[in-house]
């Protein structure tokens, strides 16, 4: 009971593990390119929850928070580039179904 009511590091780590796996599953299952991008965002968020939780419960310093801010910036940059690529994909193939993007197959 104490472990349930007394929130500790492990609670956040388990939550982040489940979020990570859900994001990974989303990445593998979606055939819509935007859906895959959303899965990546979920995975990055799971990592961020870990970073902040370790920052709070581990050292008590701000390393984790700063790293989390960098991750957020990287996620935004990655989303911008990915969307530009998907727009090109859509312009060429008139769909965002990634299974159709097999032009390089030998």
């Amino acid at each position: 009971m104490n472990h349930v009511l007394h929130i500790g590091l492990n609670h956040y780590l388990v939550l982040a593990a489940i979020l990570f796996a859900a994001g990974l599953c989303t990445m593998t299952l979606k055939r819509n390119a935007i859906g895959i991008l959303i899965g990546v965002e979920l995975v990055l968020n799971a990592a961020n929850v870990n970073l902040i939780a370790f920052s709070h419960y581990g050292t008590g310093l701000i390393d984790g928070q700063v790293t989390a801010i960098f991750v957020i910036v990287l996620a935004a940059a990655e989303a911008a580039v990915a969307l530009a690529i998907f727009l090109n994909f859509y312009n060429r193939l008139a769909t965002v179904d990634v299974d159709r993007g097999d032009r390089l197959r030998g």
Partner: protein, 310 residues
Amino acid sequence: MLEAILFYGFAAMALAGAFGVLLSRNIVRTAVWLLATLGAAAGLYFLLGAMFVGAIQLIVYAGGTLVLIIFGVMLTSKNPHMRFAPRRAEVAVAAVVCLALVGLLVWVLLHSTWYVGPIVQTRAQWAQTGVNEHPWAHDLQAVTQFLDANHVAIVDAKGVPCGPVTLAGLARAAWYELTVMPQGDQGDRRQPLHDADGKPMSGDQLLAELHALPPQDRAIDDAALESAIAALESPDAPARTVQQVAYACGDADLLTDADGDGTRNIGLGFLGVYLLPFEVISVLLLAVLIGAAYLARPRVPASGGTGGGR
């Protein structure tokens, strides 16, 4: 109790959003489920005391990235309700792999020993946590007993008592072989040790008291502690930033500033210890800007005709 309620509320919201993302077949609904997860994650950050990161999460992620994704949905789909159903075998394989991954991750992290440090600021709060099994806990206990027995107070430059965390942080610095340095020009953050009479306490005095403790109560190396104190006492020690002093001495006041969140320290960190990563990120953003503009430019016909853009 309130923390537990809030944690489970935000966790349920995050998981509901994640499984909504996973199970929804409509891309617009998927994006809205992602919004729930991002908001709940921001709530968790607030709960963990990371106010600035929580605010950034809401502004950049929920306000910026998600809108970008919605734009992507708008621009890449004539029919936003279009569905792409995965094959049944794919679903089975993905489910097995992801469940195995969750099982493995949870098993590993529940069977690991993470260091959980002294995050508390007052002695009463520390007593409530009951953190005793880690070596640092011995330092905290020993230092607290030492403070109680000798009526020693540690005061900062303004004479405000720092509490036991600073001295424990000194022990922590010794434990990690960091050195505690006095602060240079920008505001005197150096914290001399004072005894009850207000006289500055020498490192030798402090060391003698700590040496007098039984060895099982001291989880730190004598030599490391000695060098840390020598560095603290040395008048010509090189100047360090507030961040590094906070790093080394683990002072709660320096780490969390008066308002109780680390926003000020994040600002100091970006222009101090984390300056290089900060600059690298800015260069990366520039590269992303140019790259995205290049990718999204109107296509020029390869034959070099006069068609121009589309």
